[in-house]
C-alpha cells in the first residue's frame, strides 16, 4: 500500500461501529440531562386539563366579547352591492385604458378587457345616506347601524391564498386562524360548547378548505369546530342505540385517565387537546342538540330570518350564530360560498347566480343585525361581513374573449366590507375608492390592519398575542398590521 492508502485505512479504522456507539452514549446522556433540567418549548400557555379554554382576561379593556364573521367565499362584487361608481357607467363597454393594465397581473383577464358599468341601481338609504344597490332591499334598513370599509385591499388574487390570508394572516398554509388565536388569547365562556364554531352554506367548503379554521401550529385544542347545518350537527356525537349515558361517561373518564398518565410521562400538549376534546364531545352530546334546535325559536324570529328548516341555508346559519353567541361561544364563523361571478356561465353571472346569492343573504344578515341589536347583544358582539378580495371594474375576458355573461375578475386592490357591533362606530363609511372603483384612494385598510383592529376590539394587543414556533414568536398579523382607530368608538 502506498502512504495515502495506508493513511486512509487508518482513518477508516477510527470510524468503526464501536467508536460511533461510544460517542453516542455521551450524546444521549446529554439529551437526557437536557430534558431532566426542564428545557421545554417554553410556551406560555400552561394547559389546564380540566378546562383548557377557561376564559382569560384580555390585555386591556375589551369593547366586544364575541365575534361573528360572515365570510362570502368567492368574493362578492362590491361594485354591484355597496360601492357606487356612476363614472364607471360612462365607460361601460369601452376598452380598458392601458394604465390600468400595465404591469398588473390578473387572475384571468388577458389582453384588453372592456369596462363594465354597475349592473344594478344604487340609492342612498338611512340617515347616513349610505349607498346600497337594489339587490339588498332588506339590508337598506340597517345601514345606519353598520360601518362600511370601502378601501380594503389585499395582496392575493386567488381564492385559496386570499382566504388563508384573510383568516390566518398568511397566504400559505400552516398558520392558525383568527378564531384560534382569539380563543388562545381569551378562552371561551361556555365550557360545554367549542369556543370557535364554523357553519358553512352555499354548497361546499370554501376554496382554502378547512385550513381557514384550523389551529395551525397552536395546539389543536384551538381549532374551529365545524357544525353541520343539516342532520346531526356533529357526526357521531350521539350515542349508539342502546348505550346508556353513564356507560359513555365512564368510558371517557377511563380513556382520559390513561391519557393523563401518558401526558405526565411525555408532556405532549396534543394529549391535553385530546383529553379536552373527549370531554367536550361528551358535553356536546347534550349541549349541541339544544343549541342547534332552531325550531324552538318563536315564529316571528323564524320569519325574520327566513329560515329553511331541514336544509342547509345561510339564514339557518345566521340564526344559529345568534344562538351560539347567546350561549357564550367566543367566535362564530359563517362561510357562504358561491360569489365568484366571473360571467363564464349562468351560475357565475351577475345577471344570474349573483341574484340568487343576494337573495340568500340579504334577509338573513339584516335579521341577524336587527336581532342582535334588539337583544342588546350588539353591545358585546362584533359582526364582520366580507369576501376575500373584490372584483374588477372590467368585464372579464378569459383567454382574450369577453365572457358570455356579465362578470368581473378577481381584484385585490379594492373591496368593501362592513362591520357592526361592539366597539365600532355606527353609520360610517371609512375609505374611498377612485371614480371607477379600481384603487382605494383614501383610508385604505389592509387585511392585517383589519385583523389587528378586530383583535383590538376584543381587548387583545395584536403585537403581544404571540406563540413561539420554529424558533421565533409568531402572531396573527406577523410583523404587520396597525389598528384602525378611526372606526372605533
Amino acid at each position: 500500500m502506498n502512504l495515502f492508502d495506508e493513511a486512509w485505512a487508518r482513518h477508516q479504522s477510527y470510524l468503526s461501529r464501536r467508536h460511533f456507539l461510544k460517542g453516542s452514549a455521551l450524546g444521549l446522556g446529554a439529551i437526557a440531562l437536557g430534558s431532566l433540567m426542564g428545557c421545554e418549548a417554553g410556551n406560555k400557555n400552561e394547559l389546564d386539563t380540566s378546562n383548557p379554554l377557561q376564559p382569560v382576561a384580555p390585555h386591556f379593556l375589551p369593547r366586544a366579547k364575541n365575534i361573528i364573521f360572515l365570510h362570502m367565499a368567492g368574493a362578492p362584487s362590491q361594485l354591484e352591492l355597496f360601492d357606487y361608481k356612476p363614472v364607471l357607467e360612462k365607460y361601460n363597454g369601452k376598452d380598458c385604458p392601458p394604465e390600468l393594465l400595465e404591469g398588473k397581473r390578473f387572475a384571468f383577464i388577458q389582453g384588453v378587457p372592456k369596462m363594465l358599468g354597475p349592473q344594478y341601481n344604487f340609492a342612498q338609504y338611512g340617515e347616513t345616506g349610505s349607498w346600497v344597490s337594489d339587490r339588498l332591499p332588506h339590508f337598506q334598513s340597517v345601514v345606519d347601524d353598520v360601518t362600511f370599509l370601502k378601501a380594503m385591499h389585499t395582496d392575493e388574487f386567488n381564492h385559496a391564498p386570499a382566504q388563508l390570508f384573510m383568516h390566518t394572516g398568511s397566504p400559505r398554509q400552516g398558520r392558525p386562524s383568527m378564531g384560534s388565536w382569539v380563543i388562545y388569547g381569551l378562552g371561551s365562556e361556555n365550557a360545554n360548547l367549542p369556543g370557535f364554531i364554523v357553519l358553512v352554506s352555499g354548497n361546499s367548503n370554501p376554496s382554502a378548505g378547512k385550513s381557514v379554521w384550523g389551529s395551525g401550529f397552536l395546539p389543536s385544542l384551538y381549532q374551529g369546530v365545524q357544525f353541520r347545518s343539516k342532520g346531526d350537527p356533529v357526526l357521531f356525537v350521539s350515542d349508539p342505540d342502546g348505550m346508556p349515558r353513564d356507560l359513555r361517561k365512564g368510558a371517557i373518564k377511563t380513556i382520559n385517565e390513561i391519557n393523563r398518565l401518558q401526558y405526565n410521562e411525555v408532556g405532549d400538549p396534543e394529549i391535553i387537546s385530546r383529553i379536552a376534546q373527549y370531554e367536550m364531545a361528551f358535553k356536546m352530546q347534550t349541549s349541541v342538540p339544544e343549541a342547534m334546535d332552531i325550531n324552538k325559536e318563536p315564529e316571528y324570529i323564524k320569519d325574520m330570518y327566513g329560515i329553511e328548516p331541514g336544509k342547509v341555508s345561510f339564514a339557518n346559519n345566521c340564526l344559529l350564530a345568534r344562538r351560539m353567541i347567546e350561549r357564550g361561544v367566543r367566535f362564530v364563523q359563517l362561510y357562504h360560498r358561491g360569489w365568484d361571478h366571473h360571467g363564464s356561465n349562468e351560475f357565475e353571472a351577475l345577471e344570474g347566480g349573483f341574484l340568487r346569492r343576494c337573495d340568500e343573504i340579504d334577509q338573513a344578515m339584516t335579521a341577524l343585525v336587527k336581532d342582535l341589536k334588539q337583544r342588546g347583544l350588539l353591545e358585546e358582539t362584533l359582526v364582520v361581513w366580507g369576501g376575500e378580495f373584490g372584483r374588477t371594474p372590467m368585464w372579464e375576458n378569459r383567454g382574450g374573449k369577453t365572457a358570455p355573461f356579465k362578470g368581473r375578475d378577481h381584484h385585490s386592490e379594492a373591496f368593501t366590507m362592513w362591520l357592526t357591533g361592539g366597539g365600532v362606530k355606527t353609520g360610517m363609511t371609512y375609505g374611498e375608492t377612485d371614480e371607477i372603483g379600481y384603487y382605494g384612494v383614501n383610508d385604505r385598510i389592509h387585511i392585517h390592519d383589519l385583523q389587528a383592529t378586530l383583535l383590538h376590539c376584543l381587548g387583545l394587543n395584536h403585537e403581544h398575542l404571540t406563540y413561539p414556533f420554529q424558533g421565533r414568536d409568531f402572531r396573527l398579523t406577523d410583523v404587520h398590521g396597525k389598528v384602525v382607530e378611526d372606526i372605533l368608538v
Binding site: Q54, P55, V56, A57, P58, H59, F60, L61, P62, R63, K65, S141, G187, E189, N190, A191, N192, K283, S287, P298, Y300, D303, M304, E326, R327, G328, K370, Q374, R375, G376, E379, H456, G459, N461, V483, E485, L488
Partner: protein
Amino acid sequence: MDFLLFWGRFHVLLLHLPIGILTLAILLEWLPRISRKIDTPSASWMSLIWKIGAISAVVAAILGYMLSFSGDYGEERLNLHMWLGIALALVSILKAWGGRRLNSGVISMIVLILMMATGHYGGNLTHGSTYLVEYAPDPVKRSLGFEVKSSRPRITNLDSADIYADVIQPMLDQRCKACHNPEKRKGELDLTSFAAIQEGGESGQVIKAANLTGSELYRRVTLDPEDEKYMPTDGKTPLSKRQIEIMAWWIENGVPGSGLLAEYEIKEDMREKLSDVLGLSPDAMELPLPPLEELDEEKFTELREAGFAVTPMAEGSPYLNISFLPFGRVISDTVMNVLSGVGEHVVWLNLSRSGMKDEYMAYLENFPNLMRLRLDQNEISEEGLHYLADKKYLEVLNLFGTKVDKEPEMLDTARVKIYRVSLEEKPNRES
C-alpha cells in the same frame, strides 16, 4: 495624566498574558503528577515559563496601577483588585526566581488562587458583580446570595405610574446602567438612583431643572452619534427617540424624583408616548371606577364552582367580568351568596337565561360598581329593578324577554341604555 491613561488602558489588553502563561505553568507542573503518561517538562523550560509569566504579571500590574488614575472605578473594589494583583505579581516573581527550594506545589497553588481572585474582582470592576448571575435561574441566584430582583408592580394604568421610578429609571437602567453604576463609575457618574443622578459626575451636575440645554445628561444623548462625546458610547444601543422625548419632558417638568403621573397635565401625544414606553396599549380605556385590591385565586375558584365564568376585565385589573352560563344550573340563594361575596368587584354581569328572579335581585344591592347588567330572558319584573336605582355607574341594562313592559322609572334613562322587549310583546318585524 494622559500619558498614564494612555498606557494604563493597555492593562486590559496585557492582563491576558499572565493569566494564560501562569495557568500554563501551573498545568505543566501538576499534570505530570496526575498522569504518568505525561512527562515533566525540562527544568529549564519550566523556569523560563515561570519567568515570562512573572514578568508579564508585573507589567500588567504596573499598567493596572496607571489605569487606576482614571477614576473610573469604585474606590473599594479597585483597592481589593489592586492589592491582589500586586500580591500575584510578587508571588510569581518569588516562584520564578526563588530557586529550587521554592519549587513546591504550594506556591503554585497560591499563585492560582491569587490569579483567580484578582481576575474575578477585575471582572467585577468592568462588568459589575452581577454579570455572571444576571441570567441565572432564580434558585441559583438566591443560593449565591444575590437578590432576586423584585421589580416594581406592573403598571396597568397610566395615571398610577410614578414619574421617576416607572418611567425614567427603567430607561436609564436599560441603556446607561452598564457603565454608570456604583461599582463602575465612568466619568464618576452613577445613574442608578435619583440621588446619584443629582450628585452628578466628573464634569459636575448632569441635570438642571427646567433647563434642557443646561442638562448634560440630555445634551450627551442628543449629540450627533458620530461625536465622540455621544452617549452611550462604544456602539451600545442608544435611547430611542421616544425615550429621549420623555427625558426632555421630565427635565422640563422640573426633574421630579417621584410623583404620580396623575399629578401632571399631560398632552395627548405625550400620553401616547408614555403609554408606549410603559408597555400599555395606547388606546387602553380606563374604568371610571375607584381603585380596589385584586382578588385571590381562591375566590375565583369558588365562583367557578358555583357556576360562574369569571375573568378580570383586563390583565391586572381588580374588576371582574362575570357570566352565569346555565347548563343544568339555575340561580339560587347559595349561588347568589357566593356572587355577592365579590359584589364590589363586579363590573359586567351576565345573568341572561339563568332563572334569575325578583327575589334574588336584593343580592345586587352591594354591587356599587356595576356597569353592564344582562337580565335578559328571565322572569324579572319592575319590582326587582328597584335595587338598581343607586348604581351610579350603570350604563347598559338588558331586559329583553323579561316581564318588564314599560320604561322603568326608577332608572335614569338618559344615562342607562335599556334594551327592553317584554315576554308579552313581540318586536315589530320592521323595527
